[in-house]
């Protein structure tokens, strides 16, 4: 059906009107985009003249489950809330995001409960969700608590996207889930692990990573409502994952990343910025070892950088603390939080393995009755064909307002363990250590 000349002209005028309106609206939104902002620097001065102090406990209580990828956040009243994922196995449909709260005075973790499930996420997002993964907690500039967690609709972890929920009552109740759209191809392959940080304008920096065509780190910048404002790559290629951004000043930061490449030496990857993340140095290998495993870190009151990591090139049976007092060039290893390398070398059978695990559980604060059950529970998950292996992985380190450091990590893929220590304990360990490394 041919249009009349008059009808054609009218159609052309209507389309031109829409084009001009769209150009105006697009320009208006682009002009309204927030300008780049410096990092927000928040330093906690540790109390002086404290006596060295360290205590350990288990955060998770469920037995016979797969517990992994802990994250911590300090609540307004000084308590610490932990999040992790828990289910019958990694990637299972029954995996939920669990949470518990530490009462710092009593030194005890409260009851474990689910804060996000696959079914509730699916209903809230109005889309099919196959499984849940890593959670990471953040405090917005307005005080709201955010929880970002990995959701997968199709395929394995390469098919991940990030879901966000927020809470106005310190994590007791949570609002509707929303999905962050961060990738153009079906929103595939963006995951969280590293600690979020703030920019001076109140926007939130969320370190993320991809593992589909490339394995690389990025920073997402989110507004106060959780919408993505911008993203910036930290690395490229197929060898760096799970960035942690350590803010040194308004303009300077060091990013440390898991090394996922095959070329030895297997070392922590680092990149740095001097212009608040507008540009990053090309990723380079640091003196710290890395067995393709996550790490975590904080910047202490005097500017020293403390990281928790598996400082070995293979396996995850050693978990250590390392400190740098010069912004990341030289590192001193402050000893091991966990070390079962000698036991691993013995090729333990199941009953000896369960016995060692039970003894470790008792040392970690579990009651005598519980320790035996923990040993059996871990044995079921960590032994295959009679061979057993230890794993202490996925550390998450924060410093609370009282200066204490809190480290949570996956303990033999079955529990989340918490280590709380003060600066005096750390310095005491450093004084005894002679392990110093530099480029």
């Amino acid at each position: 059906m041919a249009a009349s000349p008059r009808g054609g002209a009218l159609k052309g005028a209507v389309v031109l009107g829409i084009v001009l309106a769209a150009c105006g609206a697009g320009a208006f939104r682009a002009i309204g985009r927030p300008a780049p902002a410096p990092f927000q620097v928040s330093r906690i001065q540790e109390p002086r003249n404290e006596t060295p102090r360290m205590q350990t406990s288990f955060v998770s209580t469920q037995k016979g489950v797969f517990a992994h990828a802990a994250s911590l956040i300090e609540l307004r009243d000084g308590r610490v809330r932990a999040f992790w994922y828990s289910g019958s196995r990694e990637g299972a449909r029954d995996v939920e995001i669990h949470s518990a709260v530490l009462d710092p005075r009593a030194g005890k973790w409260g009851a474990e409960r689910a804060v996000a499930t696959r079914e509730a996420t699916e209903r809230s997002l109005e889309r099919f969700v196959a499984k849940l993964g890593n959670p990471v907690a953040a405090r917005g500039a307005d005080g709201r608590l955010w929880l970002f967690y990995v959701t997968v609709s199709v395929g394995g972890w390469a098919g991940s996207s990030i879901t966000a929920i927020s809470s106005d009552d310190e994590g007791e109740t949570w609002g509707a889930a929303r999905r962050l759209v961060t990738s153009p191809f079906l929103n595939l392959s963006t995951l969280v692990k590293g600690t979020p940080f703030l920019y001076a304008d109140g926007s939130l920096g969320l370190p993320v990573y991809h593992e589909f065509i490339g394995k690389f780190g990025e920073i997402l910048r989110l507004d106060k409502a959780g919408a993505v404002l911008d993203k910036k790559r930290l690395s490229d290629g197929r060898y760096s994952l799970q960035p942690v951004v350590l803010v040194k000043s308004g303009e300077e930061a060091l990013a440390v990343m898991r090394y996922s490449g095959s070329e030895p030496p297997h070392r922590v990857i680092v990149a740095s910025t001097r212009d608040a993340g507008a540009h990053w140095t090309p990723p380079a290998k640091s003196p710290l070892s890395n067995p393709d495993a996550a790490l975590s870190g904080v910047v202490l009151g005097d500017g020293a950088i403390l990281v928790a990591l598996n400082d070995v090139e293979h396996d995850r049976d050693v978990l250590s603390l390392a400190i740098s007092r010069d912004g990341g060039a030289r590192w001193s290893v402050a000893g091991d939080v966990e070390n079962q390398r000698a036991a691993s070398a013995e090729l333990l059978d199941e009953s000896r393995f369960a016995g060692i695990v039970a003894a470790l559980a008792r040392e970690s604060g579990a009651g005598a009755a519980d320790a035996g059950v923990i040993g059996e529970s871990v044995k079921l998950r960590s032994c295959k064909a009679g061979r057993c292996g230890f794993e202490f992985s996925y550390p998450y380190l924060i410093q609370t307002g009282d200066g204490d450091l809190h480290l949570a990590y996956t303990w033999n893929r079955s529990f989340i363990k918490h280590v709380r220590f003060n600066r005096a304990w750390l310095e005491e360990r450093l004084a005894k250590s002679s392990d110093e490394r530099h480029h």
Binding site: V19, A25, V129, P184, L186, L188
Partner: protein, 200 residues
């Protein structure tokens, strides 16, 4: 509770499902009734989620370009509109396939440059798209011009959950359609030139 962007996302997929039904060999009225019925069924929750939500889990939200192309296909059949001129269709397919080749591999990590970042409000990208929409209008490719303009407008208004302009312009299904159509066109030309050479 659904947000506005969930409703717009699901509506886009319902339109896609309904449009696909208009290819059925039925009379005009029956075809329209089937399209409306499918759109409604796609949005009715079954076991907690509507069928469109399962599709959404796999495909994500459809770009504005895809929705407009499907709507044109469905309504055009229903109302007896003439199909898009082949010159304009070819221009659209080249633009879409070219953008997809430039965007997807690099955005997923095939190189250090991330073109997807431009979609978070780069003035350069908005300027280039505005010029492209005006150029298409000047060349009397009104549908192509409308696709670009409505994608830009929808992004500016926050129509979908994505805050990235690329997601309003392009999606993988659309890219596959454009690349497939171009490949088919190329193959036909090759075959016909081969047949011509044989006749000589």
């Amino acid at each position: 509770m659904s947000g506005i962007t969930d409703l717009t996302g699901l509506a886009g997929l319902a339109v896609a499902a309904a449009s696909a039904c208009t290819a059925a060999p039925l009379s005009g009225r029956k075809r329209a009734a089937l399209g409306v019925l499918v759109a409604i069924l796609a949005l009715v929750p079954l076991g907690g989620l509507p069928p469109a939500a399962y599709l959404r889990g796999a495909t994500g939200d459809l770009s504005i370009t895809t929705v407009l192309l499907l709507l044109r296909f469905a309504l055009g059949r229903q109302l007896g509109w003439s199909p898009t001129e082949s010159k304009e269709r070819l221009a659209l397919q080249i633009l879409i396939a070219g953008a997809a080749v430039a965007l997807y591999p690099l955005a997923l990590g095939a190189g250090p440059f991330d073109p997807y970042r431009l979609g978070f409000g780069s003035p350069w990208m908005i300027g280039a798209l505005s010029l492209a929409a005006l150029a298409a209008w000047g060349a009397r490719m009104l549908f192509a011009s409308l696709c670009i303009a409505l994608a830009l407008l929808a992004w500016a208004l926050g129509w979908y959950e994505s805050g990235n302009l690329w997601d309003y312009l392009l999606d993988p299904l659309l890219s596959m359609w454009a690349a497939g159509a171009l490949a088919l066109r190329g193959a036909r030309r090759l075959l016909s030139s081969a047949a011509g050479a044989t006749r000589e």
